[in-house]
């Protein structure tokens, strides 16, 4: 292919026999006519890539858009590189070094993408990334599908708080099969948690807010009109969650503070670093659902006074 093209290239030597008369004033020789032809091909390709999305939309085939967009971009790039930049006429190490740079970028893409694109795995989770994806707009709302796709990653398919991403979170996601939870939960608390996230309750910041996701319209971004859809959808989802509720016992366990999540922070200070330490101490690896005693310092651990001193120290270190 390269040689055939080089031949044409050479054919365009010096005369101007091939240049159409109308363009003689503008294009001085066949060489320039060759460039002009290339430009016309590029224009044609551009038009195809421009109308591609319209065809794709009309036929409901997104693949057409992708092919016309990126396939044609590659063809156009090839034409520019070959016919305008004359890459193939240079010694071959020139394209080799450019190709090497491209290979390194591909390497970068494929070895970074697993971390940036994916938000959960077998034993790990990228909660921040996942919560963003989880709150993407939902077009056709089905409580079962939403539970599986958006909730079960943390709360588990059975609602036990043991989803793959949930195992890495402290405090642990709520276990909906635990009686202790239902002793304190009510409809409003659940609705607030779903619509405005755990932060609205002063609980885990890993529980995302779904208000925008449930909203009508394009969702996300700037079009957050107030509508009734989020409320209705939340009701459906709460009904779905209620199916996990265990049957009430004859004598309910007396549970003073029985929510296995972080207590509300009274002061509105910006998320201090200490919070996590306290949360770890208090709720570390206790499986969700059991009645958790108030976070008392372990007997062998540092004393209360020492903890306070450390907290004060860290505070000083952060805000000095």
């Amino acid at each position: 292919m390269a040689s055939a093209d080089a031949a044409t290239h050479d054919d365009h030597g010096h005369g101007n026999g091939k240049v159409p008369g109308a363009l003689r004033g503008f294009l001085k020789d066949d060489h320039e006519w060759f460039y002009f032809q290339t430009w016309m091909i590029l224009t044609g390709l551009f038009i195809i890539s421009y109308i591609g999305p319209f065809i794709g939309e009309a036929l409901h085939m997104f693949a057409i858009t992708m092919v016309t967009a990126f396939g044609i971009a590659v063809v156009k790039a090839g034409l520019v590189i070959k016919r305008f930049m004359h890459l193939m006429d240079e010694p071959k190490f020139i394209w080799q070094m450019n190709a090497t740079a491209l290979v390194f970028i591909l390497l970068f893409f494929f070895w970074v993408a697993p971390d940036v694109m994916s938000h959960e795995g077998a034993n790990w989770g990228n909660q921040a990334g996942a919560s963003i994806t989880m709150t993407t707009h939902i077009e056709d709302f089905d409580p079962d599908v939403v539970w599986t796709e958006r909730c079960a990653t943390c709360h588990g398919e059975e609602g036990r708080g043991d989803g793959p991403a949930g195992t890495a979170i402290y405090p642990r996601p709520t276990d909906f099969t635990s009686r202790a939870y239902w002793a304190t939960a009510d409809h409003d608390i659940m609705a607030t948690a779903i619509l405005d996230g755990g932060v609205a309750l002063g609980r885990s910041r890993y529980m995302p807010a779904f208000r925008t996701a449930f909203a009508a319209g394009h969702g996300g971004g700037h079009e957050g009109e107030v509508d009734t859809l989020p409320g209705e959808r939340t009701e459906q989802l709460i009904a779905r969650i209620m199916t996990f509720r265990p049957p009430p016992e004859a004598a309910p366990a007396p549970a003073p503070v029985a929510v296995p999540t972080r207590e509300p922070t009274p002061t509105p200070t910006p998320e201090p670093v200490i919070d996590d330490t306290v949360a770890l101490d208090g709720y570390g690896l206790i499986p969700g659902g059991e009645v958790v005693p108030a976070p008392a310092p372990a007997p062998t651990g540092p004393s209360e006074a020492e903890l306070a001193a450390r907290a004060q120290y860290i505070q000083g270190r952060v805000f000095n």
Partner: protein
């Protein structure tokens, strides 16, 4: 200025020193734009919700700018052809047209951004828009730099000086065009 050192006139690899340097420059640009676009693509795939923001880019303006740059690339390569024949003044004229297209590109871009920003799609509006402005902005910075350098080359070419540089600035210009060829589908078409 003193004469060129002997080192500059040697061509052990069979390529003129200037062209070799421009190709290395392009290599370094490939990794800059490549890193940026790779980051964009992996975010875009990982965040389906960005499609909602991407729907607001104006494919007509993007298409217009694509044609402007493709045509400017044609003028750059025609200038190279003229310089290859030793016709400095014609090369300078064609470079001037190329610069004109560059200015046109920037004007269209300015209009586009003004419209978008006035509709509230600022750089902080969403994840998509921040990549949109950074990628197109870095590209526009390359257009500006290229146009300025092209101005200097044009002044020299008009006096038939350093005609080899017409090809070098052309190489750079085609590369900037190439980047736009990929930015256009990434930012405007794929929704």
């Amino acid at each position: 200025m003193m004469g060129k050192p002997i080192a500059t006139t040697r061509t052990v690899m069979g390529v003129s020193t200037g062209k070799l340097a421009v190709w290395w420059l392009i290599v370094s640009e490939i990794v800059i734009f490549g890193g940026l676009l790779a980051s964009y693509v992996m975010h875009r795939i990982g965040h389906p919700e960005w499609a909602a923001s991407a729907a607001h880019t104006d494919v007509r303006i993007g298409g217009l700018n694509t044609m402007v740059l493709l045509t400017s690339s044609l003028m750059a390569v025609l200038a190279h052809a003229a310089a290859g024949r030793g016709d400095g003044p014609l090369a300078a004229k064609r470079l001037a047209v190329t610069i004109g297209f560059a200015v046109m590109f920037l004007c269209v871009k300015a209009y586009e951004w003004t419209t978008e920003i006035s509709h509230g799609y600022t750089i902080t509006a969403s994840g998509f828009w921040q990549f949109y402005y950074v990628a197109a902005g870095i590209h526009a910075a390359h257009i500006i730099a290229g146009a300025i350098i092209m101005g200097f080359v044009m002044m020299q070419a008009r006096r038939n000086h350093e005609l080899g540089r017409v090809e070098l600035i052309g190489l750079y210009w085609h590369f900037v065009d190439l980047v736009w060829i990929f930015l256009f589908p990434l930012l405007y078409i794929a929704k």
